[in-house]
Each structure stands twice: as structure tokens, then as C-alpha cells.
């Protein structure tokens, strides 16, 4: 919620602008005994005083529109100013394409506020499917600065749903994952596209290609929580396929055989498989035993839990609980 970078040396104070000479600015009424008296910088105080004047007189004029812009540049988090701006936009029947540009200017300074994004959605909704490309372009620019920007992703998902533009979305996810395979937002978006795009066949139809994609990502970076979770998510509600897909168990074995990486996610995935009914082979047993430090467990799933308690000690209690839940069947 930083104020905008207005150059105060060049801006003429409102009280000295002839355009505003007819308006009496209203000062903040903090009441007789202010609970949380707010400290003000003079320029900010003046702008807010003039805003209050037009807000209370409900002036919906071009100069009011300009004043809301000045106010938002100083503090884009002020939701009352955004509200009033919408009323003024409506009264003036203002060009909403220009409004999209206005929002982009404000976003340059600080895009991490709910009000800005909600305003954007309000405008885009009025303009309709013709701005689908523009909304995807805008969110892409914001995400290029912060690829996990929660508001931008939320807006992008809304835009796809409401305005369309699904064609290149899976490619876009890939692009982001190439840049940072640990980007959980991009993995989430991938799932969003695979499950909701009207152009693809849905989760089951996409499963094979997605599994292969994910396994490649896992092998490149085995210490990635997101990719392992995504892999499991591809088999949502289908335990049988999950435990019988050889590529799933083999990616675990592959990672476990490596000495240069964190084994935790491979172990926990193997644990899940065992608990879901996978019958372990000798390869599984040897692979796990190779990591054991003389731990006495004979039950394979127990042994996996013990090792996990060692390699992921901060979650020792969780792994102990997992161990306590293993039924005899999961040998």
C-alpha cells in the first residue's frame, strides 16, 4: 500500500489551482477524542480533503474523475475512492478502454491490492469477450514481474472462464515452469486448464501426457513439492490407476537411487503407494534398504516412515503418525 510516486515539487497544491477554487475541502473528522489519530503528510492530507468534499457533495464531474486519479496515485488501497470513481465513470459514460489503461498505470506502482483487481474485473466484465486477449496480456505482464502473484492468477482464471482464450494456456504454464519449475501457482494453473478447459478432454483424457510431463519435471528437480503433488493429483479418485501405473513407482525408485538429491518426496510418495495397496517388489525393498541406517524395521512401509523421520526431522511427529496408521497389509 505504498503511495504513488507523485512528484510533489512539480504538482501545484489543489488549494492553489483555479479549477478547484469553488470547493471547500473537508478535513478528516476524527471525532472529539481520536482513537487512532492518523498522521498526515500535507500534500496527502490536502488531496484527501478535496476528495472528501466532492464525495460528500456527490460531484460526478470530469474534474472529480481526475481527482480520484490523483488520490489513487497517492493511495491505491483506498476502497472508497475506487467506489466513487466507478460512480463517476458511470455518470460520465467514460471510455472504459481508457480505464483499462488507467488501471495499468496504477498497477505499475503497486499491484498488490484487492481494490485494483476488483475494479479491473468490473471494467473488463462490462467490455466483454473482446478484451479477453487484453486481460491475458495484462496478467502475463504482472506475472512476468512476480510469477506467483495471487491476484493476477485469480484475475486470469476469471478472465479465462468469463471471456475465453484457453487456447495457449497450457503452453503458458509450460513457459512459466521452464523458468521456475518450483512455481506452485503455475502447477495449479496447469491443473485448472487440464480440468476446466473446454478445448481439452478433461483429466482422464489428459492424464497420460500430463504424467509424462510431470515425471520429466520431477527427474530434473526431485526436491519439488509441487510436481510430486501434481502427479498424485492426476490420479485423484482413482487409486487403482495410481498404484498400477509403472511410471509412478519407477520415478520413486529412480530418485531414491540418486545420491545427489533430497529423497523426502520420493519416499513419501512410495509410502502413499504402499498404503494404497501397491505390492512392493524386491527392487522397492532394496532401494529403501540402501537408505536405511541399520533401522530395525522389517515392514517396508514402517522403514520408509523411519527414514522419513530422519531426512525430514521437522515433521518427525507427522511421520511417526503415518507409521502408526500403517495396517499390516502394507508390507
Amino acid at each position: 500500500m505504498r503511495p504513488g510516486n507523485m512528484d510533489f515539487d512539480e504538482a501545484v497544491p489543489l488549494s492553489q489551482r483555479s479549477e478547484w477554487s469553488d470547493v471547500v475541502p473537508l478535513t478528516q473528522d476524527d471525532g472529539p477524542n481520536p482513537v487512532v489519530p492518523i498522521a498526515y503528510k500535507d500534500e496527502f492530507r490536502e488531496t484527501m480533503d478535496y476528495f472528501r468534499a466532492i464525495y460528500f457533495s456527490d460531484e460526478r464531474s470530469p474534474r472529480a474523475l481526475r481527482l480520484t486519479e490523483e488520490t489513487l496515485r497517492l493511495n491505491s488501497g483506498n476502497y472508497t475512492v475506487w467506489h466513487f470513481r466507478r460512480l463517476v465513470l458511470g455518470a460520465l459514460n467514460h471510455d472504459l478502454y481508457q480505464e483499462l489503461e488507467f488501471i495499468e498505470r496504477i498497477a505499475e506502482d503497486n499491484s498488490k491490492n484487492y481494490q485494483l483487481w476488483h475494479h479491473r474485473r468490473w471494467v473488463a466484465e462490462k467490455l466483454g469477450p473482446e478484451v479477453a486477449g487484453r486481460e491475458l496480456g495484462f496478467t502475463r505482464r504482472v506475472l512476468s514481474l512476480d510469477a506467483k502473484h495471487y491476484h493476477a492468477w485469480s484475475h486470469r482464471q476469471w478472465a479465462l472462464r468469463a471471456l475465453g482464450g484457453w487456447e495457449d494456456e497450457l503452453d503458458y504454464c509450460h513457459e512459466l515452469l521452464e523458468a521456475d519449475v518450483f512455481n506452485n501457482s503455475a502447477w495449479n494453473q496447469r491443473y485448472y486448464v487440464v480440468t476446466r478447459s473446454p478445448l481439452l478432454g478433461g483429466l482422464e483424457a489428459m492424464r497420460e501426457s500430463e504424467v509424462s510431463y510431470t515425471i520429466k519435471a520431477i527427474l530434473a528437480n526431485p526436491a519439488n513439492e509441487s510436481s510430486w503433488r501434481y502427479l498424485k493429483g492426476l490420479y485423484k479418485d482413482d487409486k487403482e490407476s495410481w498404484i498400477s501405473d509403472p511410471s509412478v513407482s519407477s520415478v520413486c525408485l529412480n530418485v531414491l537411487s540418486r545420491t545427489d538429491c533430497f529423497h523426502g518426496f520420493a519416499l513419501s510418495t512410495l509410502l502413499d503407494l504402499l498404503c494404497d495397496g501397491l505390492r512392493p517388489t524386491n527392487e522397492h525393498r532394496d532401494s529403501v534398504r540402501a537408505l536405511a541406517n541399520e533401522e530395525p524395521d522389517t515392514n517396508l512401509a514402517y522403514l520408509v516412515c523411519t527414514i522419513l523421520g530422519r531426512v525430514d526431522p521437522i515433521r518427525a511427529n507427522y511421520w511417526a503418525w503415518r507409521k502408526s496408521k500403517i495396517t499390516v497389509a502394507a508390507m
Partner: protein
Amino acid sequence: MSSTSSSQMGQLVADKHVRYILMAEKKKESLESVVMDHLRMNGAYWGLTTLDLLDKLGTVSEDEVVSWIMTCQHESGGFAGNTGHDPHILYTLSAVQILALFDKINILDVGKVSSYVAGLQNEDGSFSGDMWGEIDTRFSYIAICCLSLLKCLDKINVEKAVEYIVSCKNLDGGFGCTPGAESHAGQIFCCVGALAITGSLHHVDKDLLGWWLCERQTKTGGLNGRPEKLPDVCYSWWVLSSLIMIDRVHWIDKAKLAKFILDCQDLDNGGISDRPEDAVDIFHTYFGVAGLSLLEYPGVKAIDPAYALPVDVINRIIFTKNDC
């Protein structure tokens, strides 16, 4: 809190935090205060709840706070972030929560406030923040929490509200702001809190979500809000309260978390920051103290994980008869 003594892990400088909060209210020429003007109601809730948790609510003037709060109420029944601003569900909850701290909910026209909140429910069960229609599961929690404190939950369609929240559940067991949105600890707190208050926790896959939540703990002991992000003290609240509500808090290393929070204190001037060495603010001061409360740190009153108010305040409300 197990074997680590508090002298080993640092101390909670409670008096300094109290002073920090009281001073923040008096600080002049602070641009930070200026830009927070429109959400002063939230700031007041954070500050006052922290004071109550440290048993220092008596250091502020109840009358001044309460009369200021009432200047923020609109004809619609909703409350604004400050005098002269528009009403919004966010500030309506904070207003009710502050009044609860002072045991002054009875000064409200409960019917009016609850109608404002109930009127924000949409057909699909979701809630808008205000008349402009922004939808987010945060607002589902806020509405449910607020109406529950006012004992008017039956004014909304609870079943549909729950249905909408459940539609925001993701494959990792977590929840996002809208259906399909990425799981985020803040949103998870809101959804789990709402489900807890409405007695609907059976919709949560507690083991799956519990694991996702305990994976938020980083090597520093602090918690992040999503995979591969930095730890932040505010997640000490959102992740921790969620874990407690689903009865899985023993899955994190509590001692390490407590140490992380304590390391985020400004030991000289009071206040708590998002992570060690950063600047403090009221928001993180509240979440740090609330997190320590959930960790049962000595000298901090117990806080209710769903309502985010001291347990004695909630008990008082539960045991008071009230007509809606």
C-alpha cells in the same frame, strides 16, 4: 512447550509490544498511518486484540473506541474502515469483534447489522464484500464469523454457504479464494474457520490438508503460505489455527515456530515483523502474539482459533442469551 526453556529461545517482550501499540496510535507524521486510514477498523482490531491477549485492554479508553466505531456505521447497517468511508463486510466483522472484546455487542442494532451481512450472500452460496460484488472465500468466513458472534447464523443459507466453500477445495486438500484458485494458507484459514463455525469440518480431508499445512514449516522454523515461498509471521496464525481446528497441530515443530516468532520481535522498540530483521507493523504484531497464544506461550491469554478472539470473550458470548 516441551523441553526448550524460554530463556534459550528468547523472550516475549510483552510490555514493549503494548507500548508499541499504544504509541502507534499517537504517532504523528507517519506516512504509513496515512495510507492505512481507510482500514483503521482492521488496525484497531489487530491492536486491541493483541492488548487483550496480553491482558492490557484496560489501557485504552473503551468509550472513545466504541463511540468512534459507531461513527463508522452506515444506514445499511454495515461498517466502514473509518469515518466517512463506505461500508464493507471486512470492517463490519472487525467492528463486531472489537465490540465483543469490550462486551458491548449489546449496543448494536443486531438485526440491522446481521441483515447487512446476510444481504451479501449470493445465489451460489458465496458472499460479496460489498455492493460492488467482489467474491472471495474470505468473505464467506467473515459473514459466518460475524453472524455467529451476533447469533444470527440462521439468516443466511448455511448449506449453500458450505457448498460454495467446499467447491473451492483443491486436490491438495487446501482452499483458494474461488473455485480452482491455488491453495493459500490465508484462504485455508477462512474456509476451515467457516466450516468449523458451521459444524461442517467433515468436508475437510484432515490428513491431507494437515500434511499440506505442516509442509509450510521451513528450516527456519517459520511457516510460509504456499510451497516455495518465504516464511512470514502472519502464517503463524493462519496455518497454526487451521491445524488446531483440524486437530493436527502436533505435526509441526512448535518449539521451532515459537523461536521464529520471537526472533521477529523488535526487542528495543516493541512490535513484531514478518521475518527477522524486517520493520515491524501492527498486523504482524497481532499475528505473532496470536500465534504464540496458540502455542500456549506463557503470559498470553488463550485465543479461539476459529473466531480469532480471546477464548474468554467467546465464552462470554456463548453463555449470553441473545435474540437475533
